[in-house]
């Protein structure tokens, strides 16, 4: 969804991802400078790891729920930071070399991906560089010369293995932390801090802002769950590479890369089918307009608006997905009508009729057997606001779709500001009786701060 990115709601001179990316670039640059001034300690090792990282980055995938994942690259970067000996020789490179090589390799891989037209989420570079940098600094500059040097020299196995695993785990936690921070700071997402001036509250019924810390914690947990299956393998293989590099030398890289690539292939298949699913629903949402039941682009505009509202009031990712599907399919029930409703505008028809259309649509969606929650949302989309049950996820999503649909029925794809204001005024009249006040507030904010989505 492209429309909402124009407005940055945080009062910072730079958006947060840009800020973090700049930090990452500065850190990489500084590390590179230091490495060049001191001379590269082990060029062969650095080159082998660098190539592996770049390769892993070049075949990066986007996991469902929008998280970029490059298991091979993360594994190689962590292993590079954690290796104590390669081919029988102690490694002498420092954290700066690790950061410089990782940063450069990630940039190369990203360039390949960008050439193929795939762009990561903003701030991706920062994730990679800062997480690896964390592990490198902690391990190479602090643990290795200090507390654990004797332990690692004698390579007493369980202890040093556990130590390496702990550092790797910590690094991935840093990564997850960055993901959740970035996700919350993305434009269109709920802001971390309340941005007073744009929030107006004429009726006194606006959303209660959740405590920032709690929201962060929730996001963090969600992100950890999303990667719960991939992270352990990354840690395992990073530690395995670091330990076996002593006897296997750099051969360990292709050897360890092979199974990781198999894993990644299966993840890619999953990501692809997931993306296809979304594309299919988006595509099939157009059948109503094709059949002249709704205005062209209506379903997509409603979906765009509903998602913006959903993000604005901090729905979790899973609910956002249901909301997206429900918004796309919200008019599917109209297919069962012999005569189209004029303009497809359900906002203008009697409530009983709207209810029956909604239930027809819910039946269609329920037929799939897998979109039950979406069907529930569709079933409720005609219901007026009831304060007692407003927090139920289904009803909240239905309320969002109801408001977004009403707005789009009234405005359509029109760019005329007067028409938009008139539509808002009409919807605000129904606030608290017809529409959920939180949703209307959010809708108002979004409409005031964005250009209409062309559909």
């Amino acid at each position: 969804m492209t429309g909402s990115s124009e407005h940055a709601r945080l009062h910072l001179p730079l958006s947060a991802p840009t800020l973090l990316t700049s930090i990452a670039l500065v850190v990489t640059g500084a590390a590179l400078l230091e490495t060049l001034l001191r001379g590269v300690a082990q060029p062969g090792v650095a080159a082998a790891f660098g190539v592996t990282i770049a390769l892993g980055e070049a075949i990066r995938i986007a996991l469902p729920l929008g998280r970029d994942s490059a298991p091979l690259s993360s594994t190689a970067a962590l292993a590079f930071a954690l290796s104590v000996a390669v081919n029988g020789q102690r490694t002498t490179y420092g954290a700066a070399e690790v950061i410089a090589v990782t940063g450069l390799a990630v940039l190369c891989g990203m360039a390949v991906q960008a050439y193929a037209g795939r762009h990561p989420r903003p701030g991706y570079l920062a994730r990679r560089v800062l997480a690896t940098g964390f592990a490198a600094v902690v391990f190479r500059d602090w643990i290795l010369p200090g507390p654990a040097s004797g332990l690692l020299d004698r390579h007493t196995m369980p202890a040093s293995g556990a130590l390496l695993a702990a550092v790797a785990l910590a690094a991935l936690f840093v990564d997850n932390l960055l993901v959740s921070v970035l996700a919350r700071l993305e434009p269109g997402r709920a802001p971390l801090v309340d941005t007073g001036p744009s929030r107006r509250d004429p009726v006194g019924l606006t959303a209660r802002p959740r405590p920032t810390a709690r929201r962060m914690l929730l996001a963090f947990r969600e992100d950890c769950m999303a990667t719960a299956w991939v992270c352990p393998t990354v840690i395992l293989f990073a530690v395995a590479i670091a330990l076996t590099a002593r006897s296997l030398g750099l051969w360990v890289l292709p050897i360890a890369a092979a199974p990781i690539l198999v894993v990644q292939r299966s993840l890619r298949r999953y990501a692809q089918i997931s993306a296809t699913y979304q594309q299919t629903i988006r595509a099939l949402s157009r059948v109503t307009e094709l059949a002249d039941y709704t205005e062209p682009g209506h379903a997509r505009r409603v979906c765009h608006l509903a998602l913006a509202i959903g993000r604005d009031i901090s729905l979790p990712d899973t609910q956002l997905l249901d909301l997206e599907y429900a918004a796309l399919l919200h008019d599917i029930g109209q297919l069962s009508l012999t005569d189209p409703i004029p303009g497809g505008a359900t906002v203008l028809i009697a409530r009983e009729r709207a209810a029956s259309v909604a239930s027809l649509g819910a039946d269609v969606v329920r037929q799939t057997g897998v979109l039950d929650r979406v069907a529930d949302i569709l079933e409720c989309q005609w219901r007026p606001f009831s304060p007692q049950r407003a927090d139920e996820p289904v009803l909240l999503a239905a309320a969002i779709i109801r408001a977004a649909n009403a707005y789009d029925d009234l405005v359509g794809g029109a760019l005329d500001p007067d028409r938009r204001l008139a539509a808002l005024r009409r919807i605000r009249l129904g606030m608290a009786t017809e529409y959920d006040p939180r949703v209307v507030e959010s809708l108002t904010r979004i409409v005031e701060s964005t250009q209409p989505y062309p559909g």
């Binding site: 530690v239 076996t244 198999v262 059949a291």
Partner: protein, 600 residues
């Protein structure tokens, strides 16, 4: 063992085996792999495909002979290798850990939940670790002990069990022989180490080649897979993946020698867990996707009163043809989506037109004739369907170039489109319409053959014929109407309109004034159209509105869309009748990926 390997690749053939196996293992413990309600629903909503039906017959005799051969080979190998094994220096913990891993992988691979996920690569990794770490003979014994765990699964038939255990024993034997012959390292420590990688890689190759060979032969002996297909599958997909995965076992072996047994075990298991999880998610999403597409297409069919379940059956027919033509699995799945979605564009034909009395004017005809273009408009944004766009766009083309929307001819019509055209016509003929009963399969096939060359691609018609005959032999005849769920809500409406439909059909057959003219040259064949249901003088083909090549006896106008809206003369007829040459028309054809715009 590797029995699960082939089932995806040859789901029409080896799937019978796999399905049997899955059903056997489903038993009382299937709850172990229990799935969420959503997935179960998705699975239930999938229609039963002719090829997927369970076959509970016993293993064919040839296969049993083959299993006996494999078992005796295993016994022979055991007699040669086991006496020489040096049991004195065996690390018992290692022995049992590896045996247990092998057993767990083997047993869990037969859970229904994991049936689609690769158990074999992980098992190869464990075997490589065993071959490298344990002395000759001991490694294969350890694997065989793990293999015996298959007996823990209730309901596994004895012949299956024998095959699995023999395979699990023979595979590491091959690995041991290779590793021993190349003087592979046992210490895996520094002075020997990087150089000792080569024997390990060769052992890994042996460990992947032997099961591929055993199982490949099994499917070929079972009589369902052609040897060439099995070999291609093994070389292209199975071997590279298994070799790649087996390197995890290599890493694990080195780690074990570095006194990190826990890490070594986890390294062998970790990727397996992620892969299984990913496959599970994949299967779930895939089922959800299929179910969603089906349900939404059914919703679309609400409008089209005569074609309930039609898309499904066309998909099934297309799949059968594609399988017979030996198409790859990936392409078949795309073809299936294309076939399911091929008539989505009909939605753009207003109900008003579908139910209209009387003649159609030019604009209305145009609206009807662009429905494939509309269909493409809908699916254009589904990225993976690239090849399907052209199939949907061109499924009303004819081999002689008189179809629509672009008038492509012969081989220039995409193959997918030619397949869908045949399956589409076949289903139209074999399903019941309100104004006529369904025709029998032989009748329909004869009709298809009669029009092969002019309307249909003869190769594909022949493939359809063969595929149906094959299915018949397998005891899975084409069931046609009534096998698929009908969208319940619209049933009353459908009944109410049935009579009107019958009237319109008759009327439509008479709407032939536009295209007067005699039978066209060339296409007039023997006139062997067996069915004369709607034959009347001046009948025209639905697609081209041209007089039927078989004169007034042809039922070909009933082929594609028996609903009245398509029984119309089309403006294309004038174009075809004019002097324009075929090539001229083709030059004006828009590129397939930039289809004509619809109304908007």
């Amino acid at each position: 063992m590797t029995v699960f390997e082939f089932q995806k690749a040859h789901s029409g053939t080896a799937a019978r085996w796999a399905q049997r196996l899955r059903d056997m293992t489903r038993g009382p413990q299937s709850g172990v792999g229990g799935s969420s309600a959503g997935t179960a629903a998705a699975r239930d909503s999938r229609p039963v495909q002719a090829d997927e039906r369970v076959d509970d017959g016993p293993m064919p005799r040839t296969a049993r002979v083959y299993v006996a051969g494999v078992a005796s080979a295993a016994v022979l190998a055991a007699a040669v290798i086991l006496p020489g094994a040096r049991w004195g220096r065996v690390d018992l913990v290692l022995f049992f850990v590896l045996a247990a891993l092998q057993g767990v992988i083997l047993v869990t691979s037969t859970f229904p939940k994991f049936a689609e996920s690769p158990g074999v690569p992980a098992s190869v990794a464990v075997q490589l670790a065993a071959v490298v770490l344990l002395p000759q003979g001991v490694a294969s014994a350890s694997m065989a002990v793990g293999g015996l765990c298959i007996a823990l699964r209730p309901g596994t038939p004895i012949d299956r069990m024998v095959f699995v255990v023999s395979g699990v024993f023979l595979t590491p034997v091959a690995g041991e022989v290779v590793y021993g012959a190349l003087h592979g390292s046992r210490t895996l420590m520094r002075p020997e180490m990087p150089a000792a990688l080569m024997p390990m890689v060769f052992a890994a190759l042996a460990l992947t080649a032997v099961p591929a060979l055993l199982v490949g032969t099994m499917t070929v002996v079972g009589g369902r897979v052609r040897a060439k297909a099995a070999l291609r599958e093994a070389m292209r997909r199975i071997m590279p993946r298994n070799v790649a995965y087996s390197f995890a076992g290599l890493l694990a072996a080195v780690l074990w020698r570095h006194q990190a047994p826990v890490l070594a075990t986890l390294v062998m298991i970790g990727p397996l867990l992620v892969t299984r999880w990913a496959y599970e998610q994949y299967a779930e999403q895939r089922a959800a996707h299929d179910a969603t597409v089906r349900a939404l297409v059914q919703a679309v069919e609400i409008k089209d009163l005569y074609t309930r379940g039609h898309s499904e059956r066309v998909a099934k027919g297309s799949e059968m043809i594609a399988r017979w033509l030996g198409m790859e699995e990936e392409r078949i799945s795309i073809l299936r989506y294309a076939a399911i979605l091929h008539d989505v564009g009909k939605l753009g034909v207003p109900t008003r037109l579908l139910q209209k009395d009387g003649k159609f004017d030019e604009a209305e005809l145009e609206t009807i004739r662009v429905h494939p273009v509309r269909g493409v408009d809908v699916v254009r944004d589904i990225a993976f369907l690239n090849e399907a766009y052209t199939a949907i766009l061109h499924h009303h083309e004819r081999m002689d170039g008189r179809g629509y929307p672009t008038g492509l001819a012969g081989e220039r019509i995409p193959r997918f489109a030619r397949i869908i055209a045949v399956a589409d016509a076949f289903d139209s003929m074999t399903s019941t319409r309100s104004y006529r009963p369904a025709r029998s399969v032989p009748d329909a096939l004869a009709e298809l053959r009669g029009c092969a060359g002019s309307q249909f691609d003869p190769v594909i018609v022949e493939a359809m014929h063969q595929a149906l005959a094959h299915a018949e032999r397998e005891g899975k005849p084409w069931l046609g109407d009534g096998t698929l769920p009908v969208f319940a809500r619209s049933a009353p409406r459908r009944a109410a309109l049935a009579d009107a439909g019958a009237l319109e059909a008759v009327r439509a057959a008479g709407v032939s004034g536009v295209s007067a003219g005699g039978p066209t040259d060339g296409a007039a064949s023997s006139g062997a159209c067996p069915l004369r249901v709607r034959a009347r003088s001046g009948a025209v083909c639905a697609d081209t509105a041209l007089p039927c090549p078989h004169g007034d006896k042809c039922a070909a106008d009933g082929f594609d869309h028996d609903d009245p809206a398509f029984m119309v003369p089309s403006p294309l007829s004038e174009r075809s009748l004019s002097e324009r040459s075929l090539s001229e028309r083709e030059r004006q054809e828009p590129p397939p990926h930039a289809p004509l715009r619809g109304r908007r």
